[in-house]
Structure formats: C-alpha cells, structure tokens
Amino acid sequence: MLSRFSDVLQTAADVLAPPATRLEDFEYHWKMILNFYQNYDENSKLHVEETRIPHHLHQMLQLIVDEEKEQQGGTVGPCMEAIVQRSICLLDALCALAAAERPPGARALALTTGTALLRRTRQPCVNSAHVYRPLQRMLIQCNESPASPTEKEEVELLLTLCGLVRKEPGLANIFTTPFVEDKSTLLSIPEDIQKLIPIRSKIQTPKKNPLFEVELPPNPLRNVSIIRTGKDDGYNATSSSSADDNASCKSHKTVYDDNDKFLLIDLLLSYLNSADNQVVLRACEGIMIVSSLPEDDIANLVTSCSPACETIVDKLAAKYKCVPANVVASDVEHLNITWAYVAQDFGDKSYSKFHGYKELTSFFSWLDYCDTLMKECHPTIAAHLSRTFRQNFLEGVAENGITDLHHAVIVTAILAKCLKVVDSPDLINEFSNWLVGDGEVNEWPLLHTLINNCLTDNYELTLETLRFFETIIEKGTEHSIHRVVLGRVTSRGYFAPRAPDDDDERDRLNDLSLGREREYNREAMKQLQHEDHVNEQITDILSHEGLDPKVHDEGSENIHRVINSFLLLLPRAILSDPVGADYEHYIHDAHRRYQYWLDATSTFHWPSDYNWVDTTASSTHSYDSRPEADIHLDDAFEPLKPDHIVKNDPKHFSQKLVLRSRDLTSQTSEEEFDEGPFFKMIFKLLANMPNQPYQVNLHLTSIISQLALLPHPNLHEYLLNPMLPTAKKTPTLFKTLQEVARRLTMEIPRLRNFKKIIENTRLWLMSEDPTYDENADHNQLVESLIVLEEFCKELAAIAFVKYQHTLHMHR
C-alpha cells in the first residue's frame, strides 16, 4: 500500500517538475534498493517477492533495454555506462544478494536478473571487469553450495554466458586463468558493497571445491579485449568495444600450463551431477555450445585446461556400472534414446518398462550425448573425447565384462547396442580399433575372445556375440573390416585353378543331394519339374529386371548358374516353400542394402569393382586365370570413368600387382588356405546349423548375407561363387552350405510326418508370434531347414543384384 502511494507521489512530482532523465530514474531505483538494505532487519521472514526489490530491479533492467534501443553505432547509454564504470554497482549488489540470500529468495532473484540483463540487451559489456567479475563471483559463490534450490537459475546464467561466448568467442578469455581471481577474492564481497548492503553473507566458511585451486597473485582490474592476438589473427570482433576508458588487456596465451583453468567449463561440469535432470540438461547444452566453437584455442582450453572429456566419460562409466547385472539382454536391443528428451521423460512416473530400464536409459542417453557432442564439437575435442572414451570406458571398464563369463552376455549386448547407436566417425573409429586392434597386429586378444565367445556352448552368449559382430560389420571402418573379414581373403589364396579335364567341379555341381534324389523316381520327376520351375522364375526375374534372357552371353549364363546353385541347394522334397513366391522381396531388399554398402564403402581403398565384373561368371567356364581378365577390363573401362581415378592411385596399382603375382604362385604350389579365425568361426557355426537354436542361425546367416553384399571383389567371389575353383581342403561358404543341405536331406525325411512339421514350423516362424519361443513343440532341425532355405534365396538375390549393378555400370 505504501509503495503504491509513493508511486502516486512520483507521478505527481513528474507533473510539477520536468520528467527525470533515464539515468535519474535508474539512480532512483538504485537508491531505493540501497535504502531497503540499509534499513533491513535480518530477522525479517519476509520473502523477497513481497518486497519492492523485484520491482526496482525490473525497472532498472527495463531502463537499460530501453536506452539501448535508442543508441546508435555501438555506443553504450548512460545507464549501462554507470554499470561499466561501477558508479552504480548493480552487479556487485546482485552478487551480494545472491551470497546473503536476504530477504529469502534474493539469490534466485539476483541470478534471474543477471540472466535477463545478459539476454535482453544486445551489448551487455561482459568484457568489462565490472560486469564479468561480479558475474564470476556470483556463480562461484552459488556453486559453493552444491544441490542448492537455485541450481536451475545458476545453470541458466551459465548457459547464457555460454551463449555470449558462442557469439563472441573472445569472451572465453574472461573465464581463463589470468582473468579469474584467486578463490578467496572470488568468495568475498568487496568492502564498498558490504557498506552499501550491510547484510552478512550466508556463505562464511567456503567448502573445499577442487575446481578452484588456482593460486594467483591478485590482478589489477582489467578489461578483456575480445580482439585476440596470437594464432587467430583473422578473428576480429569489435561489437562490444564499450565506452569505458579502462586499458585493454590482451591475452597472449596460446600454451597452457597445468594450473590453468577454464572456469566456464569447470562450472558447467559441476552441474552434471545434479539430481535435477533439467539442470543436467542445461549444463550439457552449455558444454556443447562452448565445445562446438570453431576456435582452436578454445578447443585447446577445453581439452588441456579442463577435465571435461574425462568427466564426461567417467560419468558414462559410472552410469554403466549402475546397470543391474540381471538385465535381460533382449531388452537392451529395443531401446531408442535421444539424450535431449530424456530429462523430460524422466519426470514421468510411469516411465519404467522393465527391470533396469531407468539405468539403461540413463546410460544410453548419456552415450547419445557423448556421441552428439563428438559430432558437433571441434575436431580437437572430438579426438580427445573419443580417445578418453576408449581408455576410460571401453578399456577401463567394459573390457573385463567380456571375458567374465558371468556377465559376458549382458555386457556383449550392451556394447553391441553402444556400437549400433553411435554415429560420430571419431567414436566409431576408436570403438572399432578397440575391438580389432590398431594397425597391423597379428593377434588381438579382444577379437580373439569375441570369436571364442561365439563358439562356447552357451547359445545366449553366441547369440549376443553374433549380434555384436553384425554391428561391427554394419559399422565397419575400412580398417576393422579388413582386420576381421578381409585379412586373408585379399591374397586370393583360396583360389586354386585346376586342369580343365578335372571332373571334380562338375561332381560338385551335380551335388550328392540331387544325385540321391534322382534315385527315387517319383521324387526325381517332381524335382525336375521343380528345377524347371525355378529356372523359369529366374528367367522371369532376369527379364523383369531389364536383362534380356535371350541374349545368352557368358555373363548372363553364369549368373543363371550361380542363382541356380543357391536355389537348388535343397531338394524340393523337403522345401517348405517350393513355389518360392518371395524372390521379388529378396531382390528388393538386396538392392536397398547393396546401395547402402556402395555408399558406405565409397571412400574405402578397395579394388574397383571392374575387376570382378565376371568373377561370378568366367572362372568356371573357362578356367582362365583371372589376372588377364583384370587387365582386359581395367583397360577397357577405366578411361571411361574419370571420377574413379582416385581408386587408381599407385598404392592400388601395386596391390593389384601383388594380387596377380600371388595368383601365379598359387597356380604352381597349392598351399593350404587359412580363412582366418573369423571365417573359421562362421563356417563352424554354419555347419552346425541343424543343432543350433533358430535365433542363432538367423543372426549367423544375417552376418553372412551382410558380408556377401560388401563390394569387395575377393570377398565377393569367395562367398558368392559356387563354381569357384579351390583346393579340396579350402572351406567356402557354398561347400559348407552343401554339407548342411546334405545332412538335412538325410535327417529330415526320417522324421515322422515331416511334411506336416515343415509346414507348421514355417507358419509359426512367419507369424512372428512371440509365444512361439515358449512353445516346447518346435523342431530345431526343421527350423534350421527353413532358415537355410530362405538364406539361399537371399544369397541368390544378392548375387543377382550385384551382377545387375555391374551390368548397369558398364552400359
């Protein structure tokens, strides 16, 4: 009531005397605030919102905003000037209010007023010592009492400062060592302010805060020039050259020593442990804003003068350790988490779907933050952060879990999911190198362990590790794919041409399963009809895809044979779907996935695909040595493709030469081909298909189909050419598949009522009925038959799509 009365008086005074200038108004409100504190009774329980303080602060703020609108040419108006020159020490007063928290609620008010000043004005003159010092002091004093009720306001102010730094990177200097005072100064209130606002500070005995252990001699007050010298001469921002006369001080620092601090980041980091998710989110945003600045020296500040990367990764490790050990592995797979949305979701009480959900969500959202940060931040920070991720999380924490058989299943599932969701190239690189080893190491224990984990008799572990390998390939880098898959294949050591009169090849094609089938006459008729039907279908597909089946060139004949080999691998009698109605679906799918791989591997230094245009084809027909075909095709097509010249760099060329000379030697001495531990494991599991659970087989075949899609000439022929001449002992995909087919052909007809079982099993599997897993009635043998049957269609489709692609390339 009294205050309203004074406003009325004020209005009356305005009528009698000429209206006050803006500065006079500003001074009036300032004096009202000081008056309040001069007469303040510290025992008063009155909340700050019940006083006139918010009103006066708001008016002062509004006056600054208003005067700025009228200012021209980057000058500062008289109110702001009063602050910069500290004739009105508004910001110091705010700092004292925040420290004293008198009247109750003053701290939040001081923080929001400071934030509003920075957000509403275009030129808050933060480079002036009289602005940044009180702000620093306010932040540090608030930070002294962690988990305070004003965390939100504190982090808002910090974030606002980050925003200012983002726009004027030179301002980062005010948070670095020479401009940050020592701790005791920062924690005290200047004497003149204590006289103006005589309230005792709430913070008396500063708690130990390791963030500010910098001991420096007190500096004279100085302004920070945002014109930086040194490395980035090009940078020049003059927009806030304020009206004050203080001598500018330039930061000459480009090298930092151990004692240097980057206060802004340090403060942000301290809020990452808040219990309030919104506060954490704001701190995360602040870190991202500062880290994404393009300036090299700010990036160096973040990596060398702050523990940012280490703190962020340690937090990830801590969240990882919180995940309960008995989480169900399959629950991990379906998580989809975006860091930025989690803070809000966690407010939802119904937000717990299964055991460990909250912990997993917390972990994966933090991982998503790390990943996003790495994508957005300066390359120096990304490199440092990804290295720290590998050392402090993967090697330091996660690695043990893979070898520890009690936890290997869940650890593998989580790590596979991690690799699946990350997207930042730096992170994928470090992750992959951790898995497969850096450079050319012979034996990499972790990779070895993973391969062995696939071969244990714990199918759950096999399954999760296969999933992991699926992701390792999907997220493969050139290096990791080489290490895991291509290492042995690039030598083409599997290739062993034989004399043309060798009938072995034909024997193999007229496969035992077919031969045996023919002995049963009735079945043989059906089989023959089936083969005709399949052939018709292939012709259909070929013509449908724009390939004229009437043109019987070598290529089309051979692709026909390749497709045939896969589609006729299993005899009709035991097929679950002899009609083969879904080839189109497989072809469509293969198209899409092949295009993905062409894009994903476009920067890899793999031999160009012209070399293998007819590997699916020519090697059986005439057992010619491929090198000649290479030369022929290289000569024929390379000049036409100037955009692929990169691929012809000398390194490549020599690789090809090596390849050729190797071919020559392998023709003379038939050394045993070692397919490497990974393929050994894959073939071993494949051969064991009839004894393995459906899910294992599903993921196993999925890995192989992924590999078959890779546009690498050697891998292509090794996996997709059933007619490839090899030494007898050399294992290939097709040989292994034949073995499995042989076994199924023998064993399945022995089952009672096998046709019905096959039919039912197929129906169940296709229905994707979740209750099926618990149904005790399923037949593993028949399930593996159906997987194999579908897998053959898939391989045929992949071979076809790749062939079609090369044709298109050469048209």
């Binding site: 925003g163 804003i289 930025a340 879904d582 497989y586 994707e768």
Partner: protein
C-alpha cells in the same frame, strides 16, 4: 493426467520470428512482447483432445540463432512434429526456410510432420511475404501451411492441433511405428498396445531369414 498418446514437437525457424511467443500463447494463452532470447531449448506442454482421445503435446522451443544450431539438431531426432516458423514482416526469414527444411529433413525421422507457419499476421501493414508465397512454398515441399499471430492468438491453437491431427492420422494409417519411441510418439498409460500393430509386423515373408537389415 492420463493420456492416450504423447507427441513430441519442436518449433524451429530464424531468431525473432516469434517461436517462443507461439509456444507461450499455446500453453499459457498469453502474449509477452518482451521476451528473453532463447538459448538452447525451452520446454512447454499442453493436453489436447483429438477424436475423443486425450493427447499430450510436449513442445520444445528451439533457439533460432545459428550459434545454437548444434543443440537444436539434437532435438530433430525423436520429434514427431515440427512447426517451421517465419515472420511475414521479414523477407529474410522466409528466404531461410529452405535451409531449415534441409536441416530438419536431414536430422529427423522421415515421417516427421512439418507445418509451415507464417507468424505475425496481425502486422498486415508491414507484411513483406504474401500469403500466396507461403502457400506455394508449402505446396512445393509437401507441408501444411497456416498464418498465425502469437499476439492475437489467431490460428495458434489450429497450428498446434492440426499438426497433432496429422500425426494422429499417420498413426491410424500405420505409418508411424508407435512402439519405437525414436518417432517422438509415446503410448499413454490408459492405452495399451492396441492399434498400430500393422506398422510393426509388415516385414513380410522374408522376415524369417532376412532378419538383419541395415
């Protein structure tokens, strides 16, 4: 309060076009002429009713300034709808729409519903962008278009609710896999797994062996 669905929205567009004001008008039904610059992202929520169903809208109001784009990008992923806002009194904000759209399409899921909003329709005298231009842009890029005024509240409700309706229709059509939260849609506690199943099971016959897709 119980809801059938929860939709996540983002508001994007140049700085100063009135994104925060639109949100404030929609959530609080008031207009605030002086508004603090948005840094990072602000949040608001409101319940609406579509087809007799309670739908909770969670809305993230993003910073328009280029400097904060790194943060904004994090929100594209996982949003079901976006309001792309320009200011009819500032031609440049209209000219930047293509960049915004590219950014949104690149970082969001392909089903995200985008609504184009020409804001400040109350300032007819200062208009620089004709309504027809907005309509043409929306047509060309397959967006829904509307002119609004955060000040007078004209069309503000409609903008948010029409976006929600479009998302709702997409759910009915099975376009959105509602079980995948990356789509920005969550099923509420009162609504079990009914509906939308058609979206998840459509993998076809190849599902048996074709498992791993990339």
């Amino acid at each position: 309060m119980a809801y059938a669905y929860l939709f996540k929205y983002i508001i994007i567009g140049d700085t100063g076009v009135g994104k925060s004001c639109l949100l404030l008008q929609f959530t609080d039904k008031r207009f605030q002429p002086v508004h603090d610059l948005t840094i990072g992202v602000e949040f608001g929520a409101r319940m609406i009713t579509i087809d007799g169903k309670q739908i909770k809208l969670q809305i993230w109001d993003t910073a328009g300034q280029e400097a904060f784009r790194s943060i904004t990008r994090s929100y594209y992923r996982g949003a079901a709808g976006a309001l792309l806002v320009y200011d009819i009194t500032r031609r440049d904000t209209f000219n930047h729409l293509t960049t915004w759209l590219e950014d949104a399409r690149q970082h969001s899921n392909s089903n995200m519903v985008i609504m184009l909003i020409g804001n400040k329709s109350d300032l007819e005298s200062r208009r620089e962008v004709k309504k027809e231009e907005g309509e043409a842009f929306a047509r060309e890029h397959g967006l829904v278009f509307m002119e609004t005024s955060a000040k007078t509240a004209a069309n503000v409700e409609e903008a948010f609710i029409n976006t929600a309706k479009e998302i709702y229709e997409k759910i009915q059509e099975g376009v959105f896999d509602i079980n995948n939260e990356a789509n920005g849609i969550k099923i509420g506690p009162q609504h079990s797994t009914a509906g939308g199943a058609s979206g998840a099971g459509g993998a076809g016959a190849g599902g048996a062996a074709g498992g791993g897709c990339c």
